[in-house]
């Protein structure tokens, strides 16, 4: 019920728009084309899954959206702002204010506790959730003062999720968030992402190799050879808990 209402009410304002996005890596003599002219618009509040084989360009695409990388040519707009026109400092601000990242390998700072890893982000955010609340959101209220090495893989990834959402980002960019996790733990992480999307209205972009995960998306975009191969719209989104692999 709730799902249906939300999808129906989803506003159709693009949060991201890319125009003929191209990325070339110049190697020793042979250039590698990671992106070959991608045109795409992502809507506010939608959940998008990017599928595709290794080297298809989806990670590069995600990195460019997140302001981690610059395209070789083409344009990227975040709402009204052209990202490709920003300098390094402005991109830093952009990431700080709008973007949350979740990575396959959690990338927690080993020398900081769960709470401190989250605080790392909330301290520089404009309108954050308290680290404790963010950890509670992912069910880790009892493990807040543990160091990453004292947490299981799933717990570490949930800290990473808490860390990403704690600043109330406009967009959550997830690169293989379940790649290193077993099915049950992975689903827990997906539930956390889903919850954030639902409760905070955060746009979520998830890269995965796992086609099963596509079922929880509003749209599924398949990449191949640096281009968009197909876009499909899920009429019915499955809740993360209903997914299995």
């Amino acid at each position: 019920m709730e799902e249906d209402r939300r999808i129906a009410a989803a506003p159709r304002v693009p949060v991201f728009r890319t125009v003929n996005l191209t990325k070339v890596y110049h190697g020793d003599g042979n250039d590698v084309w990671a992106l070959r002219g991608v045109d795409l618009a992502l809507e506010e509040g939608e959940t998008v899954v990017l599928l595709g084989p290794s080297g298809s360009g989806k990670s590069t695409f995600l990195n460019i959206l997140g302001g981690l990388d610059q395209p070789s040519s083409g344009q990227v707009f975040f709402r009204q702002q052209e990202l490709t026109a920003l300098d390094d400092n402005a991109l830093t601000r952009y990431r700080r204010d709008h973007i949350g990242f979740i990575f396959q390998f959690y990338n927690l700072i080993p020398s900081l506790t769960a709470r401190e890893n989250v605080a790392l982000v909330t301290e520089i955010a404009a309108n954050p959730i308290a680290p404790e609340d963010a950890l509670a959101l992912v069910g880790l209220e009892a493990r807040m003062d543990h160091f990453p090495s004292q947490l299981s893989g799933g717990e570490q990834q949930r800290v990473a999720v808490a860390r990403s959402v704690a600043k109330r980002p406009d967009v959550l960019l997830c690169d293989e968030p379940t790649g290193a996790l077993d099915s049950a733990t992975g689903i827990g992480v997906l539930e956390a992402i889903e919850g954030v999307n639902r409760e905070l209205g955060t746009t979520a972009v998830i890269i995965t190799h796992n086609a099963g995960i596509a079922a929880m998306a509003d749209r599924v975009i398949a990449f191949a050879d640096g281009r968009i191969a197909s876009i499909s719209v899920n009429k019915e989104r499955l809740p993360a808990s209903a997914i299995s692999w």
């Binding site: 990195n63 204010d97 973007i99 990242f101 990338n107 700072i109 520089i124």
Partner: protein, 787 residues
């Protein structure tokens, strides 16, 4: 505290061993700088206060017998502030508890009154009283050396008459801070004392009523001493003036100056070595940390931390380590300064000598420390800043090992698998290998340089006491004796051999350069006192011409064949041109040598001697000493065994403390460099080494790979370090080159041996510390986590 700062401190704690090693190297440089600059400042300040308060003179002049009005004329020279005439006389002193006679210098003092110049500080007892002509004040060092108490009586030979002298006071004087006897190499307070006596008593003893034989004066500021010295010389020439000189040539003051210059040289040479090494360690260690932190750096940037915040994170680590180093350095420097000042308190007799840490030195050292640390780290930090956030998110490509020179030469097939891994790793990071080798080589070099000071001092001692001055004692006569006195000396008990000599004070000029020097006229046989060239060959002065010591030749810019103008400062004061026939190397003082008969001809005099070198039978020593104490014509006596003992004692006391510091620091450098190098190599290869362990290599075999690398780097560094050490030694020789002494550039084989041995020990110790970690490599964790 922010999460970022927490990370900072935890990361720092994680590398505490390496951080401490670097901090200690920094501390070495800072400590040396603080010690040297503060000690110079303390010495300078103490000397300034002492000289000012007790009116140390600017110019000193000696004559034979000048009328009092000559002093008044000198006082009228423009620029002269105050003049004081006095009587200064060298005598033989007999201290009851000592078998051999001692030499003394008696200085006149207005009884009960304050001297106008070169006043004394009475440490014990009281000043002289009028109408007590036999009262004396003695310098503190001499009093201490003999345990003299107030009221004790010593004897002196005054103008061929023995007199009992009652010690009424123990004093210090700015003129005898470093009380070195005439012709001595180091101060020997047992055999040389300074006495102050009532002026009238000395006038009577030396028939100098209304006259003087010594004069000192002070100058107004901004008056150049050279002009006044010329005028004083002109005025005193008719009265047997032997040439006035300024503070720069006043022995005691010149030695204090020379010591301060040494400290300044140390401050210039040593700290940079430490700080360069610290900069290099920072560069290597921080570069490695940044390499390992790539993902975290990318993450922070992805979160929106600015370049400044990320770069600052590493810069702050460096600054914290540096701050620790500076703090340790300050404390260590203050402690070393106290120790060094303690030595100076024995050498230099100041009424007070407080070591004070100079705030300027603290500030300078901190700036220099921070500068070197930041310089060392900047490139690594810049690399961290330059890491693009996306690049940081991907794992680094596996280290690109390439075929190296080893493969090209086809050596690989002769090497074991382990040896190949070691060598490939070294060639993979050639710059780091070079830096490590340089660091280790520097520690060898500092060790060699430190120990070189012993070698140089010992060599100096060997040359002086065993190759050139081989007589048991040298006698100086009150007046110039005809050679007939030779037989009188020969007749003294226990005398086996006599060699006479003549000394003439002279000014030597070549072009516009001029030096005061004593010309020694030597007898031909030279069995006892000899001239020896660099190659150890005995050199005999030719019948004509003059031999100059190298330093004198350098000061005069004289070469063999040049004609120098010699102005004798005694007798008929003839001025002659003499050809330089040879230049020989000498380490102590300035010297010129001629054949004694040639010198006598130059003086326009007959067969004259001023003293004799003596070889004596040690069994007859007591009788000889007794006879000498009763020889009224004796003006001075230098006993070789005593001088030798004093010299060794000085080396022991003075050098030991300083060298202990350097040895400690050099070892710390070695440990700092080697330990850091090993830790980095372990952290970089933890995966590789763990893989080997998983594949079935034993701990020992894996350890060999790490240890082998260290061993190779150390072995390459050792010979380079020995060469660099020789280079540093020769730099020291150039820096420690004064009129007073030079260091022989002589590094003993054993010095290289010790240096090499100490660095090998440091390598083994560091390797052991790191190899213990091989045992605790977490095989599973290392295999699981992404590189």
């Amino acid at each position: 505290m922010t999460a970022l700062n927490k990370k900072l401190f935890r990361d720092l704690w994680h590398i505490r061993g390496q951080a401490l090693a670097i901090a200690v190297v920094i501390a070495g440089g800072i400590a040396t700088l603080v010690m040297a600059l503060s000690a110079v400042e303390s010495l300078q300040e103490t000397r300034r206060a002492f000289n000012e308060q007790y009116r140390f003179a600017d110019i000193f002049a000696h004559a034979k017998r000048a009328p009092e009005w000559a002093a008044r004329e000198i006082g009228a020279i423009p620029g002269v502030l105050r003049v004081e005439s006095r009587i200064v006389q060298d005598i033989i002193i007999d201290v009851a508890e000592m078998g051999e006679p001692a030499r003394g210098r008696v200085v006149s003092r207005e009884a009960g009154g304050q001297s106008r110049l070169n006043d004394i500080v009475i440490r014990r007892g009281r000043d002289l009283r009028r109408a007590h002509p036999d009262e004396v004040l003695v310098n503190e060092a001499f009093a201490e050396a003999h345990g003299l108490q107030l009221g004790d009586v010593i004897h002196g030979n005054f103008n061929q008459r023995r007199r009992a002298l009652k010690v009424v006071g123990v004093v210090l004087s700015p003129e005898y801070v470093y009380a070195i006897g005439p012709g001595d190499v180091v101060p020997d307070s047992r055999h040389f004392g300074v006495l102050w006596m009532g002026r009238e008593a000395l006038e009577a003893a030396y028939d100098l009523k209304g006259a003087f034989n010594d004069l000192t004066l002070t100058l107004a500021h901004s008056v150049a001493p050279a002009q006044v010295i010329d005028q004083v010389d002109r005025l005193l020439a008719p009265y047997g003036g032997i040439g006035a000189y300024g503070r720069a040539d006043q022995l005691s003051d010149a030695f204090v100056t020379s010591e301060m210059e040494q400290l300044e040289h140390i401050a210039v040479v040593i700290p940079p070595v430490f700080l360069v090494i610290a900069a290099f360690l920072f560069n290597v260690v921080i570069a490695r940390i940044i390499q390992a932190d790539r993902e975290q750096i990318g993450l922070l940037k992805a979160f929106g931390y600015s370049n400044m915040a990320v770069g600052g994170l590493y810069l702050k680590q460096v600054l914290l380590i540096t701050a620790l180093g500076i703090l340790i350095g300050w404390l260590l420097g203050a402690w070393m300064g106290h120790a060094v000042t303690g030595i100076y308190r024995d050498f230099f007799r100041f009424p007070f000598l407080h070591f004070q840490v100079n705030p300027g030195a603290l500030a300078i050292s901190a700036c220099v420390g921070i500068f070197s640390a930041v310089t060392g780290t900047l490139s690594a930090v810049r690399r961290a800043v330059a890491i693009a956030p996306a690049v940081a998110m991907t794992p680094p490509a596996p280290s690109a090992y390439r075929a190296s020179i080893m493969e090209y030469l086809g050596l690989a097939r002769f090497l074991s698998q382990t040896a190949r891994m070691i060598l490939r790793y070294i060639f993979r990071w050639p710059l780091r290998a070079i830096l490590t080798v340089t660091g280790i080589a520097f520690s060898v070099a500092i060790l060699v340089m430190s120990l070189f000071f012993f070698d140089a001092a010992n060599r100096m001692m060997e040359v002086h006491f065993f190759e050139t001055e081989r007589q048991d004692m040298s006698l100086t006569f009150v007046d110039i004796r005809t050679n007939a006195a030779r037989s009188n000396v020969g007749a003294l008990p226990g005398v086996l051999m006599v060699e006479t000599y003549r000394t003439v004070p002279a000014k030597m000029r070549l072009g516009h350069r001029e030096e005061r020097v004593a010309i020694s006229g030597l007898d031909g046989h030279m069995q006892l006192s000899r001239l020896v060239d660099v190659n150890g060959r005995v050199v005999k002065p030719p019948p004509e011409g003059i031999i100059l010591s190298d330093k004198l030749a350098q000061l005069l810019a004289a070469r063999v064949g040049d004609l120098v103008t010699v102005s004798a400062l005694e007798g008929r004061r003839l001025v002659r041109q003499v050809p330089v026939v040879r230049i020989i190397r000498q380490y102590i003082g300035l010297a010129a040598y001629m054949d004694r008969r040639a010198l006598n001809r130059l003086m326009g005099e007959g067969d004259i001697i001023s003293g004799a070198h003596v070889l004596s039978d040690s069994r007859a020593e007591p009788a000889l000493y007794a006879a000498l104490k009763d020889t009224p014509a004796l003006l001075g006596l230098a006993v070789r065994s005593a001088a030798l003992e004093t010299f060794s004692e000085m080396i022991r006391q003075h050098l030991h403390t300083m060298i202990f510091f350097y040895l400690a620091f050099a070892s710390l450098i070695a440990v700092g460099v080697i330990y850091n190098s090993a830790r980095i190599s372990l952290s970089e290869r933890a995966r590789e080494l763990a893989s080997l362990r998983v594949l079935g290599f034993t701990r020992r075999e894996v350890g060999t790979i790490l240890a082998g690398e260290l061993a190779i780097l150390t072995l390459v560094a050792l010979p380079l370090g020995c060469m660099a050490g020789y280079g540093l030694a020769s730099l020291m020789v150039n820096l420690f080159d004064t009129k007073l002494y030079r260091l022989p550039l002589y590094v003993a084989d054993s010095t290289y041996g010790y240096a090499v041995l100490m660095v090998i020990t440091a390598t083994i110790g560091s390797a052991w510390l790191v190899l213990r970690r091989v045992a605790s490599l977490d095989l599973i964790a290392v295999m699981k986590t992404r590189e």
